[in-house]
């Protein structure tokens, strides 16, 4: 056992030590352009976003002056902002919860062999692979106020009586349901594929051993599958949360935040204030509210990657 470990560990140590000075210098030279680009166009703009949120700069001119925390004070007292903040969490939480439940069901169903599996996998992946703005347009048409095919189905099924009608995108609650539906539709394939990768990575022998020991299906789920799936489940959730939390395309294209700013999320509100409204400082301070959650997600991801390295 020890010898095996040493044999495995040795090449790495040897490689690290045999890196000559020239190789190390070359390594830095090759890395420099990408690092410089990322520094100039990701790190600096990120800091600029924080800086702008403390100023009164507007889209028309490059002049500005410091206003301290005034933007944040204005924003936090604003009902539209508070609604957007709440919506962002509701959309992210509800859609990710649904995606996790449905994704687990779907991934397990896809584990079984059946005819046409490759085709089904391809079709199920389409929502994630299609451009988000164009896919959302087709949902806009599905939720159309006059021609909604969903309303037609509900009429035929007798759910909507004569004179009853759903204005999907003209009503705060229905609008939120529509937005969540599109998020679930789009993120489900992504999470399913990640979960599928996790399920297939559990060795068959583990299940066989559990069968021999007389473990029932419930015990197998909770004592084998779930614990072994935990890291990958976390990865799926983390990315799903980040992608949903920061998205503005779905809200912007479906409802534009309406009716009466009731379906805005942080990202779409930042766009409305900072780009369309031209109040850069205010827009920046709205967008800054995305950062705390992203930091939490990044820390969790680092933890996972570190733990996986140790294993």
């Amino acid at each position: 056992m020890t010898t095996a470990r040493v044999a495995l560990a040795q090449p790495r140590i040897a490689a690290a030590e045999t890196l000559s000075r020239r190789d190390r210098r070359l390594g830095k030279i090759l890395l420099a352009p990408a690092l410089a680009y990322i520094f100039l166009l990701v790190a600096v703009p990120f800091l600029l976003a924080v800086f702008l949120s403390l100023t009164n700069s507007s889209a028309g001119s490059l002049d500005f002056s410091f206003v301290g925390l005034q933007n944040f004070r204005n924003v936090v007292g604003n009902a539209v902002f508070l609604r957007a903040l709440r919506n962002t969490f509701i959309f992210t939480f509800v859609s990710q919860l649904l995606v996790m439940v449905l994704g687990n069901i779907l991934a397990r169903a896809l584990m079984k062999p059946f005819r046409g599996k490759l085709l089904v996998r391809f079709l199920i992946l389409l929502p994630w692979a299609a451009p988000i703005s164009l896919a959302t347009l087709s949902w806009l048409w599905i939720f159309d106020s006059t021609f909604s095919v969903i309303n037609w189905l509900l009429k035929v099924a007798g759910w909507l009586g004569p004179g009853q009608w759903y204005y999907w995108l003209g009503d705060p609650v229905l609008g939120m349901i529509a937005i969540i539906t599109v998020h679930v539709w789009r993120m489900l394939p992504f999470s399913t594929v990640i979960l599928l990768a996790g399920l297939t990575s559990i060795p068959k022998e583990v299940h066989e051993a559990a069968d021999i020991d007389g473990a029932g299906p419930l015990a197998k789920t909770f004592q084998i599958t779930l614990p072994m799936m935990l890291p990958i489940l976390t990865v799926a959730v983390l990315f799903g949360v980040v992608f949903t939390f920061t998205d503005m395309s779905v809200v912007y294209l479906l409802t534009r935040g309406g009716p009466y700013n009731s379906t805005h999320v942080l990202a779409s509100l930042a766009f409305q204030d900072g780009v369309l409204g031209g109040d850069v400082g205010r827009g920046a301070s709205v967008a800054i509210f995305l950062v705390p959650l992203l930091v939490v997600m990044a820390v969790l991801m680092l933890r996972i990657s570190r733990r996986a390295e140790v294993v």
């Binding site: 703009p45 164009l134 347009l137 395309s249 995305l290």
Partner: protein
């Protein structure tokens, strides 16, 4: 015995129904694009309150009218061309930055390289919805407002981190001995990379090219923010923003544009998706 067979049939049917339901949910919007793109207006705009008119099928013969409008009377082809032009340049920039960086992280840096690579990957998490405000300042400062060059400059901010990470993972799977033996034979490291490593890395490079291209063509937020002239829009913004004239939606042409753009992209993306997912799950599966 008979009960067990019954159970098995029931569970097989349930499985079938589950798969069918999920597939229907996934592809319905695409089916809707297809049907809408080829329906006559008289068949399209009936109103959902008319329960006698089944919107799922063609009640009148299909028409090519919407496609003709799309190609002859709109700027769709211009937008498509703009997207491909930006995409091609972004792919080149991405390769120029990510290939050397990935090689360096895979081979020429020790422990700190590993940490740095995770840091680079995490920058992929900084969303466009946070950066578009500072970028609008930067773009104004450089005088690039309303120009595709602004997108060429900014798009690598999401392609470079992810592609560096993907390519680094790929290069690590190649045995070190290949370039070491080339170097023993008298090559310098750089020429060993060019002659031995890159040819072997073609599958990884191809993945990077496909991802940089598809991510670029799909991008919506930056393009919406920085491009205002209709003739300079990319396809992901031109279709939703400029195909709608006033409050009038030309759903037939609109859905035709969505279908023609997204299906080829989705197929391309699908072929490489496993590698893409592997990029996200490195570390969580071992």
């Amino acid at each position: 015995m008979r009960r067990r067979t019954g159970q098995r049939i029931a569970s097989a049917l349930g499985h079938r129904a589950l798969i069918l339901g999920f597939t229907a949910f996934a592809i319905f919007p695409f089916y809707w694009m297809l049907v809408t793109a080829f329906k006559q207006n008289a068949d399209l705009y009936v109103g959902a309150s008319n329960t006698a008119h089944n919107p799922f099928i063609f009640n009148r013969p299909p028409t090519l009218e919407h496609l003709q409008i799309l190609f002859n009377n709109t700027l769709y082809l211009t937008w498509l061309f703009n997207s491909l032009w930006v995409g091609a340049l972004v792919v080149l920039i991405t390769l120029a930055l990510a290939v050397p960086a990935a090689y360096s992280l895979a081979r020429l840096t020790g422990r700190w390289g590993e940490r740095l690579s995770i840091g680079i990957f995490l920058t992929y998490l900084i969303p466009s919805t946070l950066l578009f405000i500072p970028f609008s300042r930067l773009v104004a400062l450089l005088g690039l407002q309303n120009q595709l060059w602004a997108l060429v400059l900014i798009y690598p901010t999401f392609t470079v981190p992810f592609c560096t990470w993907l390519l680094m993972g790929f290069l690590k799977t190649l045995p070190k001995e290949i370039e070491e033996s080339a170097m023993v034979d008298g090559c310098s490291r750089l020429s060993a990379i060019a002659r031995v490593v890159l040819p072997l890395a073609v599958p990884g490079l191809l993945t990077v090219v496909i991802f940089a291209l598809t991510l670029t063509i799909q991008e919506f937020v930056y393009s919406l923010t920085f491009i205002s002239s209709v003739g300079r829009m990319t396809v992901s913004v031109g279709v939703p923003v400029a195909l709608v004239r006033g409050d009038v939606y030309y759903w037939g042409s609109l859905m035709a544009a969505c279908l023609i753009t997204s299906v080829p992209l989705a197929i391309l993306y699908n072929f490489f998706l496993d590698r893409f997912i592997a990029g996200f799950t490195v570390g969580a599966i071992k």
